[in-house]
Every structure is written in structure tokens, then in C-alpha cells.
Symmetry: C3
């Protein structure tokens, strides 16, 4: 029986996702335990982190375990990933050894590895975490690569807390402006989880260039079909916001311009008005708002929106702690 | 009832300071406990640290708790602090979110944020830690900004250990040379705590340009009045050292030249002779010596002084561990 | 009675080494305990680390203790080491204070400090760790300087696991190519431990320029004499591999060219064929292979060798965890 990882929620059934959320809610009510006594997790960060690192580290601690935080290329050796590579470049070590050795030390390996933003055809292969999953002999957890499944669970738990039944609630995933081209991971993830949970999802973005990768669009359509929800794309701000129960914001770079960001920059600049503000939120049906954080205030959403009672970004961030405990203990409990 | 922080000893009465020192002395006698079992503290370092980080991390561990160490801008996201800021610069995240999210994860937040050394009018507002204190919903601890209250307590505990009653003992805070303009934080702090504890304090510095900010001078005069101590400024090395019971050394940049350090550099160079050496210490009344560390040997104090039995810098550094446990458990015990 | 450190296995008798290995084997069978409850270790990394840092940090955790990880010059202050130094350069702090202060906080200090690769006459003095050992009042552990004794123990434990009795087994330490001149530490260490354990050791390297420092060659000859083993140098690949029971690979820079690496580079380039491959391993007597890691695949050893059942590099890496627990608890148990 193959080892089970937590790489994407698409590998988990609706029932399994619900069970993880139930377990997370239980950890939220009762945060301390011994479920990870003597156990450990390696947190490998190829990119910065605040919430993810803190919540995993504390989650392990609160259950009696320990997290080791490693930054390959900074405080640890740079790593090669290609099979058969003749390693005469920068990398001192191959993922085959890193994953196998860490598997001897720790009980879980979690990896954050953002795209390199040069070539989407390569980045969409998600090679770093797949390589860890191939060589590791302990479960591997995705801490954000080209999807962000831990964020999905935290978001879903917060939605459940605020709305109860999510079936056919109107959910708007809106692109927003950001001075830099950002990862599509959280946008892909929002689309996956909202369709999986049966919501009526509108992906709002300035032009077709900002639609997400077809892999995630297709998965969203299939999820929606299975869950009784729906998915559509809109470029009309007013139509998208009107009657929404949830607005979730994220910025990302347009995939057709991937790696040619200088060309995309002036296009992106023209869409600063996608900022989430009170006027747009007034179009919703008492809509809730959230964002995965970090968020640039008054660029992606205004102060008024961030500080409104309908903003649940802080709750969602808190839930990272609870859902990750559920993921860790679930993976550790494999037969 | 507002949340109590530990931002400056000026917010604490003499009786409260004495109680913290008593508690610290108790931790020194009996270092292990469960007072922080399941509790956690976030240590945010905007600047390097050795003693502060080690002592907080171990203090939490020895009481059953856990410290998460974060370096915003290095391994975590850079942070914006101004209210209402349109965040289209470097910062990816606002302190409003950082402080609120961390407050959901941890029980205490500690912050080190040195001045930027460009504009004293701005740096003296101490905006970073004040912003954390404003947005956090858990107590905030100052790990050095423009004062260093944890160092004050460690210093005070060491003074009490060596001298017993401190009332009207002659205390010299001497400026020393350092190749770079340094923070006034520890100097401000030494002045605050020594006057609060009733000592007769002489601030020895080369010229009036090296006198500390009027806020701290004024607080020192008021503390001295309340405690029966005294405070005066001297530019005469021999007069200052003569009869001293304690010499505390620190280097700092002259405030009138703040941000124009090229102009101050040749002035500072002329005062290398402020180094603490055996000849100066011989003028004291069997005087003790200390420094907050890190210290440049043979620049700020000679090897002979650092290695003399009257030097208690190592004891003072050790006391960081004990006083910080007292601060953490005191803040956690709030009603 | 002077404090005992773990700086080199040469300070430990054969019986003491065997006792450490027995203790390590016991920890491998039973990894969790309370032997370090309330105890702590400072891990000072002047250079990157993955295995060393993870295994020490987890070793302490699994025995109830805590490791504080410090990177002087990055997240902590840069340090001066010379006695009597007038510290007006980069260093903010002298090892005298660092070692004394850390000794007040923690129960053990571990140091990684690679050579600077400029001047071997200076690097071979191993001043950094010696300075820590001189000033510290707690035991100091070598995490790799110009030897790597923790790696030695992990290697020895893996050899014992695979071969049982090591006496007069043929052991080949082979130089391999690497694009950069590397530290001789692990090579020195392999030579020390293999001769100490009574093996018949061949040091295989391209030319006499690649022979190790006379200090370690001499110690190897003396060890071999005492243990009934042997040590010889060979530049003949086929002769060296033939009949070998163990092949251990490492790359290092040629000492006569130390600091003049541009001159050594073309020489080194001519010896890429020292790579460990299946053809060479076929010359051995069912020989085992290992490397300390990190290893550049297809530069130092081929994929086929690394993935072969006779490769025990992963076991050796795992053993770091077990042997370091033995070292830590042994040092903590000093009278």
C-alpha cells in the first residue's frame, strides 16, 4: 500500500476533506495534546514564510512534537532535483539523498517551493515537491508550491464557521492588482476547494489572459459537476460581486506572459481598480471577505474592507494552526 | 482593563520592578518549571541577536513553553507600519495583520527593532513596537528598540547581587568609542533604571552633543527625584570615575549628527581615550564594571578590565535568562 | 579535573569509542528518553548544515532537551577569536564573551567552523573551536572544523552494523573530483577512525599533492600500529579497489595549492575519472560504499553506485542522530 502524502486536496475525497475539517475544529476547541509526542516534522522553506512556519512549528509543539526548520540554499545545502543529473553546477546535494536522509530523522516532511517564474511549462510540473514525494519514505506535506492545500483547508474551515452549509453559496474569487507578478497557487487552490464544497464559483479577472491554468479550470469544472456546484469566468466586476456570499481576493501574474513580466506589467497596471473596496462589497448579499495573507493594504483591499466585521482573513490565518494539526496527525496515523 | 505590555520600565512602579527582580532571583535558584506549559512566544528580530534570542528561547523551553524565532524581511515577509499606507513598496504585509495573526498563534510577542539611523525625530517615535502593541491582542515585550528594558532588569539584578542596597551608590554611565554610530537604547535604559533604583548617576560623555535624548534625561531627573537618587552630566573623566561604585560602558552616536554620520565620525574618533581601562578603574571606590555585550575588546574596554573580577558583564548576560522568565510569566499571569 | 570536550576522536581511547558506539546502538533501538530533560545545547554554525543541524536538534528533542541554533555573522553578531585583538574591524564580539555567556545558558556548545581556504598554516590551527574550548565552562562538541568526529562515529557504527568485526578489513579512502576545492575534514577523519578500528587502510589519491596533512597521516600510522591495522598511500586506482571491503569517497583540495586554487583547478580537472562507478566497485571483494553527504551525483559517484544495495550512505547519515545522542549524554554525565 503506497504511502499517502498531502500534496493536493484533489487526492482527497469530499468525505476525507470533511473529516479533516472536523478534526481541525476539534483541535480548535482543544489545542493541546500528546498526539505527536516524540514525533517530528521537517519544514523545508525554499521561500519565505510567516504564518506557515509559525503554525506548523506551534502545531507540532502543542501536540508534543518538534519541527525542524530548514532553508536549503541559505542555512542548508542547495539541492538538485533532476533524475540522472551530472551535478557540476551549484547544487551540492540531490533530493534523492535529502529526502531519504530526512525520512530517517523525521516522521513528516513539509515543503514550500514556489515557481521560479521563468517558464510556466516547467513550473507547472511541480517538480520539487513531487521529487520529495517520490524519494521520501515518510509522508510529504505541501506548504505551497503551485497549489496551497493547507490554505484551502483553513479557508474551508472558516467558511464553515461563518456560513454553515456552503452548498450553492455564491463564491467570487477575484483577481487583484499587485506590483509584482505573483504565484497562482492560492487562486488555483481557492478554485479547487470552493468547487469541491459545492459552491457556485465565479472567477473574476480582468481578461482571458488572467484565467488560471487549464488543469485547475478543468478540475474546478469536474469538482463542480460532482458536488452540485458551478464554475464560471467573469470579467465584469459588478456582475461578479452582485449577490455574492463570499469574496476571496488574490493577485497573480497572467500565464501567457509568464517569464516575460516586463510585457505584462503595463497590462496589469491598467487593472488597479480591481481592488476590493466598500463600494464593491456593497453589491454583495451581506458578503464575507477574505484573503490568504500576506496582503498589501490599499492595493489589494482597502483598510475599510480589511477592518470590517465581514473580513475573516484573521480567522482563516488562525485556522492554519488547526487544520495543519489535523493533516499531521492524520498522516501519522496511516496504517 | 487594557492589556499590559512590557515596553519600558517607566510603565512599571518601583515595587513592580522589585517584584520582577525577586521573581527572577527565584528562577535563578530554580530554573525549571511548567509555568509556560503549552504556551508560546513569537520572537521577531528585525536585527541580529545572540543573547536575547538564546535566553528567550531557553527561558520558554525551561518552563515548558516554546519560542518561534522570526526574522521579517529575511525568512518572513517584510512589514509595513504606517496607518493608511498604500502598500505598493517593498512591504508585503501590514503590522495590523502580522500582530493580529500572531496573537492567534502565540501567547506573547517579543520584538527587536533598532532605529534606522537616518532621522532621530522619526526613530524616537519607536513606531514598530508601538504598532505591535496597538494591534496585538496578547502582551508585547521589548527586546530592544530605543530602550532595552530586559537588559535593565538583568543589570539591576546583577547590581543587587553584587552590592545589595543600591541607594545612593555612585553609578557612572560612560560613553565609549566604537567605529560605528550605535543605538542609544542601552544608554537610555541604564539611565532610567539606575535613577529609578535610587543611585547617584553620572552620565559621562565627551561633549554636550553626546548627551542622551531629553525624554530620557527628563525621565532620569524625575526618577532620581522620586527615588532619592541623583543625575548629573559630566565631561570630565577623572571626576566621573573618582569614587564610583559602578561603571557601566556603552557607545552611541551623537544625536545632533543623527543621519549625518560622516560629519560625526571625525569628532567621535577624537574620543578613543574614553576606553575603560585599569587606570580609570583605579580611580573608583573598588568599583564594579559592566557592559551589555556585545563588546569590542580593547576598543570599548581593555582585556584587563573585561577579565577582572570586578567585571560582571557575564553575570549580567546570564541574568537575561532569569529576568525574562519573570517578565514572561508575569505577563502571562494577567487577569 | 579538566572539562572534557569532544573535539577529535584522537582524545578518546579505543575502549571509549567502542562505548560511545554501544551507547549509540542502544539509542538506535530505543530513540526516546529523558536523559536531557531541561538540558540544552547551542549549535553554532559558521557554515551551512542539513544533517548535522537536524540530527543534533532532534537528538536533543528526543531526549527531552532543546537545541538553540545560531549563525554568527548572519542572525547573530560576528565574532573575533585572536587573544588581545583590538577589535576595530567587523567583529562585534569576542569568543571570550560568546563562550562564557553561552556556558551560562546551555549545557553543551557545538561548533561548525570550516577552514577559510586561504592559508592552510592558519586553518590547520583550528583556532575557532579551540577558542571555544578554552573559554567555555561547558563541554564543546566539534560539528566539523578540520576534522569531523561525529561523522567518524556515524561511519564506524554503520561499518560495525554491516561488517561486524572490522579488524584488518581492507578500507579504501578515495579522493574524488569536485568542481570546488573542499575541506579535508572528513578525509582526515576517515583516516583517523579507520586506522583506530584496526582496518587496513589505503588512501587513494591522484598524486602526492593530494595526500593529507602530515598530522593526520602520522596519527593514522600510529593508530594503525596500536590497533594492528595498516595505512598506505596509493595512486593506482585498480590496485586500491582490488579486494576492498569498504570504499569511502571524499573530495578535497590539494594542500600544496591551498589558497592558490586557480593553479590547482586544471590539475584537479584532470582527475574526474576518480569518480566511484560500478566498474571500480566490481574490483572490490563485494565491497561496501559510503560517503558523508552532501554528494554530487555523477560527479563523485554515479547514480548506480549511490542507489546500489552496497551503498550505506543513508544508514551512515541516520547514525549521526544516534551517535550524537551518545556524545551529548556522555559529556553531560561527566563527574
Amino acid at each position: 500500500m503506497p504511502l499517502r502524502h498531502f500534496l493536493t486536496t484533489q487526492d482527497y475525497s469530499r468525505a476525507e476533506i470533511d473529516a479533516l475539517l472536523d478534526e481541525a475544529a476539534a483541535f480548535k476547541r482543544s489545542p493541546l495534546g500528546r498526539q505527536m509526542a516524540g514525533k517530528s516534522i521537517a519544514l523545508l522553506f525554499f521561500n519565505p514564510s510567516m504564518r506557515t512556519r509559525t503554525s506548523f512549528e506551534l502545531g507540532a509543539f502543542q501536540l508534543g512534537g518538534h519541527a525542524v526548520v530548514l532553508s536549503p540554499g541559505k542555512d542548508a545545502w542547495p539541492i538538485a532535483f533532476a533524475p540522472g543529473e551530472v551535478m557540476d553546477g551549484e547544487a551540492e546535494e540531490h533530493v534523492a539523498e535529502v529526502a531519504r536522509v530526512l525520512s530517517r530523522y523525521v516522521d513528516l516532511i513539509a515543503v514550500r517551493a514556489f515557481p521560479k517564474f521563468k517558464d510556466w511549462a516547467e513550473d507547472r510540473e511541480d517538480r520539487v515537491i513531487k521529487a520529495f514525494a517520490r524519494y521520501a519514505t515518510v509522508p510529504v506535506i505541501n506548504m505551497e508550491t503551485i497549489t496551497h492545500p493547507c490554505q484551502e483547508l483553513a479557508h474551508a474551515l472558516a467558511l464553515r464557521e461563518r456560513l454553515g452549509n456552503l452548498q450553492n453559496r455564491k463564491y467570487v474569487l477575484t483577481w487583484t492588482y499587485h506590483p509584482r507578478p505573483l504565484n497562482t497557487a492560492v487562486a488555483n487552490s481557492a478554485l479547487l476547494i470552493a468547487t469541491k464544497l459545492g459552491m457556485d464559483v465565479t472567477l473574476l479577472c480582468p481578461t482571458p489572459d488572467y484565467v488560471l491554468d487549464e488543469r485547475y479550470m478543468q478540475a474546478g469544472y469536474e469538482n463542480a459537476k460532482a458536488s452540485g456546484g458551478s464554475l464560471k469566468v467573469s470579467h465584469d466586476i459588478e456582475e461578479a460581486y452582485r449577490g455574492a456570499h463570499v469574496v476571496y481576493a488574490k493577485s497573480w501574474g497572467a500565464l501567457p506572459y509568464f517569464g516575460r513580466w516586463d510585457e505584462e506589467k503595463p497590462i496589469r497596471e491598467a487593472y488597479r481598480h480591481f481592488i476590493v473596496d466598500e463600494a464593491k462589497m456593497a453589491l454583495t448579499d451581506h458578503g464575507l471577505f477574505s484573503h490568504c495573507l500576506p496582503l498589501r493594504r490599499n492595493v489589494k483591499a482597502t483598510d475599510a474592507v480589511m477592518d470590517a466585521p465581514y473580513c475573516f482573513a484573521i480567522d482563516e490565518a488562525e485556522n492554519r494552526l488547526h487544520v495543519q494539526k489535523a493533516v499531521m496527525t492524520s498522516l501519522l496515523g496511516q496504517p
